[in-house]
């Protein structure tokens, strides 16, 4: 019988703007905190998955330099380059590595400091076909995506506003959330917020920040032997990249989650109503709504009605991004994919403090990575955690 490979520890730095610090320094902070919380020493850790951060783009030795920075000597090393899926993808790969005997205790660490350095440059980036028209920004891509969704299904701005308002309420209860975002938001604030790329408003968007998060992955028996009593079991994981990548005219309102959403639920043997919290990757509010449809929380195209009819607060029927998500806690660059994972683990550990969900057993956490030319996002990843 396969042994359970669990997440037995997590840590997260506060999210901050323009710290002037490096990804390595932020990683050091979260690493030291993780060791303090779990009582482990660096010598106990023999596996490392380091997320490739925007602020170190071009650094092909990032993972090895991270090992050096943290004083680790891993026998399994992974540079996790899945964008916003890097944290969940790193955990899934660490589980496989441990099952294969490549290591026993893996650190999955994501740190980025983009609020000063800005985005990096990418090899096959399509400058010739997006810069002259001014459409190279994620906001432009999501404005186009939202327009198509609205055309096919109808998009109620107050539904997106409810996602923004609810997540902001959660951020107000999260001490790690970006300080300037820890102020309540009204629907009126949302509806009056500046249009960026119609129908995308500024309050539909994330803000680039600095921050780090880290997880320890090991066999359940290993965790127990080390006196770690809090753990969550990732029971299912699926990912897909470049969805519809062989088509010139795909339906862009369909993402990779349409394939992997049902798969990951089936793998865990769960129906959507057995999910106690939804911690989706949220670069833009529409991405949250489209994922709700893909996982079957509601029918396709019914996202607006579902959001308006459902209590998405931490006390509600489907608690949504209970730490505020990236939209309201801040997006620490490509470490942002670990934010929602950390919140899922925290809630299942019962450490949600003022926003604790009552006795949760399951969490659905997702990631999104990279925006291609004229299509939906590139990588979709989903993980189910069980207490």
């Amino acid at each position: 019988m396969q042994q359970n490979i669990v997440i037995a520890g997590y840590a997260e730095t506060p999210i901050a703007l323009k710290t002037g610090r490096s990804a390595f320094d932020l990683a050091g902070e979260v690493f030291a905190d993780l060791l303090a919380k779990t009582g482990l020493s660096p010598r106990d850790i023999d596996g490392l998955s380091a997320t490739l951060p925007l602020s170190e783009s071009g650094n092909v030795f990032l993972a090895a330099y991270m090992a050096d920075a943290l004083g680790l000597t891993p026998t399994w090393l992974n540079a996790s380059g899945l964008g916003g899926c890097s944290a969940v993808g790193g955990v899934a790969r660490a589980q496989s590595a441990i099952r294969d005997g490549a290591c026993k205790i893996a650190l999955v660490i994501s740190a980025d400091a983009v609020s000063l350095s800005g985005p990096g440059h990418f090899g096959a980036y399509r400058a010739e076909f997006s810069e002259p028209q001014g459409v190279q920004t994620p906001a432009a891509a999501f404005g186009l995506l939202m327009s198509r969704y609205d055309h096919q299904y109808g998009l109620d701005p107050t539904a997106l506003g409810k996602i923004a308002v609810t997540q902001r309420e959660h951020a107000c209860l999260n001490a790690n959330a970006l300080e300037k975002l820890r102020k309540p938001l009204t629907m009126d604030d949302y509806l009056k917020s500046r249009m960026i790329a119609d129908p995308l408003r500024v309050l539909d968007c994330v803000m680039f920040c600095d921050g780090a998060n880290a997880f320890l992955v090991m066999a359940e028996s290993e965790a127990r032997a080390r006196g770690l009593s809090k753990m969550v079991l990732p029971t299912a994981y699926a990912e897909i990249t470049n969805y519809a990548g062989d088509q010139s005219c795909p339906d862009i309102t369909e993402s990779g989650f349409w394939r992997i959403g049902p798969q990951v639920l089936a793998k865990a043997g769960l129906k959507p109503d057995a999910i106690d919290m939804f911690q989706p990757y949220d670069d833009f509010t529409i991405a949250v709504m489209m994922q709700m449809e893909a996982f079957g929380f509601c029918e396709r195209g019914q996202g607006s009605a579902y959001v308006l009819a459902t209590d998405l607060s931490y006390r509600g029927a489907l608690p949504l991004n209970t730490g505020g998500g990236q939209i309201s806690a801040g997006q620490p660059g490509l470490a942002g994919g670990g934010l929602n994972l950390a919140e899922g683990v925290r809630q299942l550990f019962g450490e949600g403090e003022g926003r604790q969900i009552a006795d949760p057993k399951t969490a659905l956490v997702t990631g999104i990575g990279t925006i291609p030319y004229g299509r939906n996002w590139s990588t979709s990843a989903a993980m189910i955690l069980e207490a």
């Binding site: 906001a139 404005g143 327009s147 030319y373 004229g374």
Partner: protein
């Protein structure tokens, strides 16, 4: 009178061979990659056909007629686009079964909507370099 903001012509052939697109555009012809194995166009250009995986690709002129598949008004942009805001942007589905992202120019605001018929127009970058844009068929 202030000089217009620069609109630099991107460097071709950076990650794959794209010069035919630019040579065609100079003559106001829109050339896109065409897979001779499957008879399908693709855009943006790739090193292989996304339909077959082969390098049996050539550049063919498209007719320039299509419909708006998605559209938005960009109101905040990177500095190089800032002087032209607000900017009508659209994903155009061409009759040949391929999409291209472009600006919509010379079209009344209320005519720019999904499913509207459009035809190829030409915008000018620096050095009077034509760049494909579209306008709504009146």
């Amino acid at each position: 009178m202030p000089s217009p903001a620069p609109r630099p012509v991107p460097r071709p052939d950076v990650y794959v061979h794209t010069q035919p697109f630019w040579t065609g555009a100079r003559e106001r012809k829109l050339l896109l990659q065409f897979c001779t194995d499957t008879g399908q166009f693709q855009h943006h250009p790739r090193p292989v056909s996304i339909h077959s995986g082969s390098r049996n690709l050539e550049w063919r002129e498209v007719c320039g007629r299509g419909v708006i598949y998605a559209c938005s008004i960009l109101r905040v942009g990177r500095p190089d686009a800032a002087a032209r805001l607000p900017l009508d942007i659209a994903t155009i589905e061409l009759e040949e079964g391929v999409r291209i992202i472009a600006n919509i120019i010379d079209s009344p605001a209320d005519s720019i909507r999904i499913d509207a018929a459009v035809v190829l127009a030409w915008d000018l970058l620096d050095d009077d370099m034509p760049y494909p844009a579209f306008k709504v068929v009146g």
